[in-house]
Symmetry: C2
């Protein structure tokens, strides 16, 4: 309990600038970010299974919110907030429904390279979107070319004080990240305390620039500031129920839900595992759903479990969802007491905190490692990254999923089929192309390194047809089935037609090392009883039985 | 050469009624069926690799043509023929392009249960579409409910002579199939000759009913007859180049191309294998593409390699594509010389030949076998069958493909992961749930029966998290990797995070029996060097090394 309160206090201080900044990123008034951090973590605490996950506004979901809502309403209009509330409500209902229907596994179809490409692109897009605020100009756009083009046109209107304070803040925040932590450790702080100290950098930047702005009256010199924020409890809001709007929001809400869920679950699992605990993904869906529904009715916008705030929460000692509850209360107090002090806060300071925070999302290391590990995975990553940057966040994500699924299907549809021969003096069989092994002209041994299903069944047929056409002396074909985990009805039919054609050509088909579940299934058909050859327990037995000694 | 000419003569006689009938099924004038049987087989003979495949109008493609073209033009109008020509051209260009790009493997994504459900539904739809002709009434519709509803309304207009001659013809044709063949064998014909004799049933039915119709002047009594057919060479036609039309025809043309290709290739492969030959699927695509482009410019409509005509061709002795060439010439002569004799041919006779031919497509045996073998495959079959019957041929086929892919992904995303233990006194390891085996409280042995990829990587994480949470004494986790054929970048990351979490909990992760290609790939990452445990050649060695003896 004491641990939880300390953690809540630290997280509250850290998330105040984040909440204001992410709301601006989403195109919403800054106080909406505070509201989204109050009721949602309390609702998450009631349903969630992670003791450390901190729920509230997060960068990527804020970007996706801006991209979606921007299509329906003008930034700053009342309609804009209405659409954001509807988006939170639909997303919340979807999450809860997915949890009740136990559809949490759907998130697995976002592969890591797709997530990595998407998050990197989001980081770049978010940083680019903040450049206009750092320059103190207008502009917009939802793709990188649009943003850069609009920025180029607005460049002459740059406000030099805004730019100067922004650049200094960015430099300061980078120094806090890179330089302050070692310094704190040097002067005797523990590693954890140094880490937490460094995380307070944005708070310091806000205090200093707000004081400077108030003192020197920057606002009068064209510097955009937060201005007066309504003080008090979050408003009770009623999201729009317009069915046409709901229909158009279904796909964006689904994507926001899945991205938010994936981020929450991966953070939650990582933190839970450190204490040998588990989280229950389907229950997490229900909890995130409740949090988003709560956001929709209390003036918020779509929320999720944030990475940085959760890690801070964990490191500060949060052990139960009670810490999240207290963070919600903390933000509520902040909204009641602190907001009058933020009037003079320059928007450029918030933009600077966003830029520094999201550049950590740009993950070049993963790109390099993926390139080295697998070209196919790298291609999925780059398709997602480029489509997200150049076409849009929703299309980018959908393209990533589709491309990675197609590549998986393409790969499994062309299975590795090795002709194997006996390693002399052993009972082992290895690929004839890689090893010096014994083979027989009358016997062909093939090892199929993939489950057989409709998309690859014909590849096996082709391979056997080809081998048969090349070997006039062939009498036996033996399939080594140790890596075949399943045989579907199409593959069964292919096996039957292979067996039939081989029989017409006077060749017998045998199987070896068939797995238990596969054999169980094959025995539900006539295949084994009609087989011209035999089923052998080991491939060695098959070769012993079928070749002259 | 002599073999080929005999085969060509037999096939020509057999396909004349088929060609007329399928053209009517496609909603086209009967002579279009003859035209589609002339130039396309000649072009196929120039490019194709099968010596026995007979190309021309086929039932399922004719049905799909009717369903597609019917959406753009009125049956019997000049526009209808224009759209059919454009469909043949687009389909031909797509097929040729797919062949050049070596995309023949795409056809593998039509699983056997989907094809079976689609073909059965097509057979039922085609038979239902002919009922109106057998009754001598009008009507239409492209789904089973539409057809039956329109038939019900038209029922009072039934022409009794039409119905009578139709029913007698259907009965005769069934008798030819079931009764004549044994009879011919009994009186001394060879099995093959009896078979070919029985295939001439439709020709006999046409001769008899045409003579009866001419003699008794059925046409004057309201019986619909073929009427005068233009005599002569196929016309040179120019398909429509309307871009809006082309765009709308893209998806239907793709589906027709794939269905036609799948039918051709499966027939071609079956026949080629009987002679220990092979066909080259990508070259077949080019040949079918040329045949369809040819059909588009010579008054035809989409064609494909037909099952029944190819089997007749093969059984009659066709050995080279020359037989197809001569069939084309034979039909040309038939169009020149025979058409005046067909004026009085009742349409009901053609409808009867179609009904009897397509009911052979209804394949209850496969449905029963699929049900017994795999509920998932059966579900894919039924979805395709019902969607095709009730919604339409295009949607039915697309739904079948989507459902079967989703089910494959769902299955591989929840892999079989068995905890294994040592069979006492052996070096073998088996599932602890199925066998009496030895296990150790400090060591967990898991065998994963699926390649690891993004959709199932988290399932392994969950399984290990669960096991770790249950076993306080756990010190070692060993993954037996004999059935893992691939590890993609997402799965690698999952393995890394599993290893990391286990390490934080003081547990070491080991691998055993990793395949060569998988090991090659893992070594491109840091995973193996960072691994807290070891990689063992066999699972037995792992357990020996990690447990106290």
């Amino acid at each position: 309990m004491v641990d939880d309160s300390v953690a809540a206090a630290i997280v509250t201080i850290m998330v105040i600038p984040q909440s204001l900044a992410y709301a601006l990123l989403a195109g919403l008034p800054p106080e909406v970010g505070l509201y989204a951090g109050m009721v949602p973590p309390i609702l998450y605490a009631m349903f969630g299974t992670s003791g450390a996950l901190a729920v509230g506004p997060v960068a990527v979901v804020s970007l996706m919110t801006a991209a979606t809502v921007g299509e329906f309403a003008q930034t700053g209009s009342a309609a804009y907030l209405d659409v954001a509330l509807a988006l939170a409500l639909i997303s919340g209902l979807m999450l809860a429904l997915m949890g009740v229907l136990r559809l949490g596994f759907l998130a697995n179809f976002l592969s890591h390279p797709v997530i990595s490409g998407f998050v990197t692109a989001s980081g770049l897009l978010i940083a680019a979107s903040q450049l206009k605020t750092l320059l103190g100009v207008g502009g917009g756009g939802h793709t990188l070319p649009e943003m850069l083009h609009s920025l180029w046109r607005e460049l002459p209107g740059t406000n030099l004080i805004t730019l100067g304070s922004g650049v200094v803040t960015v430099a300061f925040l980078f120094w806090v990240r890179q330089g302050l932590k070692p310094l704190l450790k040097q002067v005797g702080f523990s590693a954890r305390a140094a880490d937490l100290g460094a995380k307070m950098g944005p708070v310091a930047a806000i205090v200093v620039t707000t004081l400077a702005s108030a003192w020197l009256d920057w606002s009068a010199q064209g510097v955009k500031v937060v201005g007066s924020i309504p003080q008090g409890l979050p408003p009770l809001t009623m999201p729009s129920w317009n069915p046409a709007l709901w229909q158009q929001l279904l796909l964006p809400a689904l994507l926001i839900s899945i991205v938010g869920f994936v981020e929450s679950v991966s953070v939650g699992q990582t933190l839970a595992a450190r204490r040998r605990q588990r989280i229950e993904p389907n229950q997490e869906l229900v909890a995130l759903g409740a949090a988003n529904v709560g956001a929709a009715f209390t003036g918020g916008y779509p929320v999720s479990g944030g990475f940085s705030r959760s890690v801070v929460n964990f490191d500060a000692g949060a052990r139960t969802p009670g810490a999240g509850l207290m963070t919600g209360v903390g933000l509520l107090l902040a909204a009641l007491l602190l907001t009058p002090w933020l009037v003079a806060l320059p928007l450029a300071t918030l933009a600077a905190t966003i830029v520094v925070a999201v550049l950590a999302l740009v993950d070049v290391g993963t790109m390099v490692r993926t390139w080295r590990y697998s070209r196919a995975d790298f291609a999925a990553l780059m398709v997602t990254l480029l489509a997200t940057l150049l076409v849009g966040v929703e299309i980018g994500l959908v393209m990533g999923v589709v491309v990675s699924l197609l590549m998986y299907l393409a790969r499994t549809s062309q299975p590795h089929i090795a002709e194997v021969g006996q390693v002399p003096g052993t009972e082992h069989f290895r690929n004839v192309l890689r090893h010096q092994v014994l083979t027989h002209p009358a016997l062909l041994s093939l090892r199929v390194d993939e489950s057989l299903y409709f998309a690859n069944a014909r590849a096996l047929e082709d391979r056997i047809n080809e081998a048969v056409a090349q070997r006039p002396a062939l009498q036996h074909v033996v399939l080594q089935c140790s890596a075949i985990n399943d045989v579907d009805a199409s593959a069964l039919e292919s096996l039957e037609s292979i067996a039939h054609r081989l029989q017409e050509a006077g060749i017998r088909l045998h199987l070896s090392e068939v797995k238990g579940p596969v054999m169980d299934r094959l025995q539900r058909s006539d295949f084994v009883t009609n087989l011209s050859g035999q089923v052998f327990l080991t491939h060695y037995q098959a070769v012993q039985a079928l070749t002259p000694q």
